[in-house]
Symmetry: C2
Subunit: 159 residues, 2 copies
């Protein structure tokens, strides 16, 4: 219940979940961690309740899912409205991720996915209706993820 301070075991659990968060049960994880499955269950529950783990999502290959075009927009919004606008943007079609940045310019970065080049213009035009300025557009080629892999490796046994 302590609000803070994850220990090595917590990091080890996150490390394992990172590799497969769906098909790996506490019993499975207990094979690679020096504690029992009950403890792992308790720890995961705590991590979820503390908000360290916000949820579990599939890693989707948008290309193979039928959306080969991934476009990143760098936008500038008035600083005081940034969060509000970010939330609005997230509700738009084709938008799958929005980052708020702590900078004066280009403080909102968003990722849009489409399957036709025509839709790019539609997206841009919808964005223009919001109080933000599109500074740049860049095509995303490939995305790599390795969240937290460097943490908790010491506790995990067999790899």
């Amino acid at each position: 219940m302590a609000a803070d301070g994850l220990d090595e075991l917590d990091y080890g659990i996150l490390h394992l979940l990172q590799q497969n968060a769906r098909d790996q049960t506490p019993v499975d994880m207990a094979d690679n961690l020096p504690v029992s499955d009950t403890t792992i269950r308790n720890r995961i529950k705590n991590l979820e309740e503390q908000g360290v783990i916000e949820g579990y999502v599939p890693v989707i290959n948008y290309e193979k899912a039928g959306f080969p075009i991934r476009l990143q927009f760098s936008c500038t919004a008035p600083t005081q409205d940034r969060s509000e606008i970010a939330e609005e943007v997230l509700q738009l079609p084709h938008i799958v991720a929005v980052d708020e940045m702590l900078s004066a310019k280009e403080n909102i970065r968003l990722l849009a996915i489409t399957n036709t080049a025509e839709e790019i213009n539609e997206i841009a035009s919808v964005l223009d209706d919001l109080p933000l300025t599109i500074e740049r557009e860049t095509l995303l080629r490939k995305s790599h993820l390795r969240p937290f892999n460097h943490f908790g490796e010491e506790v995990v046994s067999s790899e």
Copy 2:
């Protein structure tokens, strides 16, 4: 087995997995989709084998996990070595994500997480050892995710 063409059911499944990829069984999903749990199991297996679903990961709140500083670097690498360098960067400590962009400049964007301001310099210095130029650094304030939520909503019943 068909290499291409997801249908509404596939999108519906992705949609549900997006909401909770860990604690939702095919039996649970069958409550919200017009097919049996067996079919859902088959579809998920196919999506995994086709590579549409690349894996399952926890959504981690880095701030609450003890890494309040999230720094995004925009870097430029020689175009022909971009992919190779991106892979190398991903192996570095503190780096949790790397994007390859289809642009001449700032074609590699990476996200680093730390808990102390001092480590920022270390990270930058390690990056400088690689054949890339750091163009910009920006602090990340907040990250929003909504992957695929707009697709497959029609098939999902109770929401």
